[in-house]
Symmetry: C2
Subunit: 272 residues, 2 copies
Amino acid sequence: MNPPDAFATATGVRPDGDGGWSASVAEGWDILGNANGGYLLAIAARAMAGAAGRPDPVTVTAHYLSPGRPGPVTARTEVVKQGRRFATVQARLDADRPLLALVGTFGELEPSGGAGLYVEGAPPELPDPDDCEWHEGASAAAGAPSFMDRVELRLHPDDAGFRTGDPSGTPRVRGWFRLPGGEPVDTIGLLQAVDAFPPTVFNARFPVAWTPTVELTAHLRARPAPGWLACAFSTRFVTGGFLEADGEVWDSTGTLVAQSRQLALVPRDPTP
Amino acid sequence: MNPPDAFATATGVRPDGDGGWSASVAEGWDILGNANGGYLLAIAARAMAGAAGRPDPVTVTAHYLSPGRPGPVTARTEVVKQGRRFATVQARLDADRPLLALVGTFGELEPSGGAGLYVEGAPPELPDPDDCEWHEGASAAAGAPSFMDRVELRLHPDDAGFRTGDPSGTPRVRGWFRLPGGEPVDTIGLLQAVDAFPPTVFNARFPVAWTPTVELTAHLRARPAPGWLACAFSTRFVTGGFLEADGEVWDSTGTLVAQSRQLALVPRDPTP
């Protein structure tokens, strides 16, 4: 049985018939009052996987419409196509207003560890988790229950300078991810991993206080093996009032298990 | 007035009330009988932009469910949120069966040319279009009306070797894109540009005959300036039966106007 604050419990959904699913945004999965985006995505994806009758999100996209607060939410799902290998589902996650609009394709992924036909890349080089920086986040600093009690992050020391006013100058964040208490990370958990780290631009040398996510897409390639996940997020273009953040998640076998990209808003005229 | 085979005409949609839009998959926008994916995306996005009351797709995702054939199609749209700057729309494109499931956020993008806050990248280095390789595609080789009469592509000579059985070994395709007859490329046209080139893996040294797209997401950053668009597509991971293809589109002012990523299926056990 999972403890009440476990990820599996906190992202659980109950079918209420007719394509609807009830869930709750649990306490403590927020950053200063706004529920984490990966957490909301995971709730919606559980409902979509249920509707699809398939366990694994192969690719899922969420558009973020309003911040989520603790309390009841409803997911509505529609299976657009039920195919041989995959099912494609459109969905919404609503509270008193729409939170997320989604589309995803679900199926059954292989376990990690298979040799790729072509791999141009490698897991980020990270010090051992014990030699990385803990990240408690802004909520903990404010004395509130913290999202950083819900997931375990260890930041690469080179990417942790923003916490002490010394950003690296490169909009990149690398680190380890796992769930507390040895809770396994399944493919729904990977959706949490791709949106759990501090924003890449915290390490840039221009002032960006907040970058609300417009859209996040995750591609999952395999079911992750047990253990820490090595994660890397980077931004190459902050233009036109937007930025993208590209993520890679590698498991303990050295297999790429997820890629992600999000589009976020950047204040149009930040004061230098 | 646009000629009947112009992109704007061939992707036109007519509202039929109640969130429905009528359109046609025109002749000649196919590769060996299957309508090009960017073309279908553009039709759906025109309907979504119409429903949003906003001209520009900021980010749009399509899941590809069945191949499109010439003939009538219907788009159904639902505006999930109409906000101050953006509207988010869910949509489907259907023929006698579902073709695409989509979600997109629409707004009004700036003209290209603004300085970015951070730009880590540059347009691909391409020879002049006249010194690049024409690409007629498989339909022309088969004597059929060709998608390559509908769009103009010029391939980087280094990336055109697959056409003569001499792939570069790097799953990358770079080249120029424009519409024929001087037709301007608007932001809907950018959705065509991100899925018009031959597959990246045609330049890999493993046998892949066909890579059906599961999902394509495009992020648009600015309205493109007139002229050729410099495009680059590359694949880093062919694993787990899937590959991603990442695209960048730069306009004649040297501005990044679009990023794209698609997830495609790869035959599970290709014979070496």
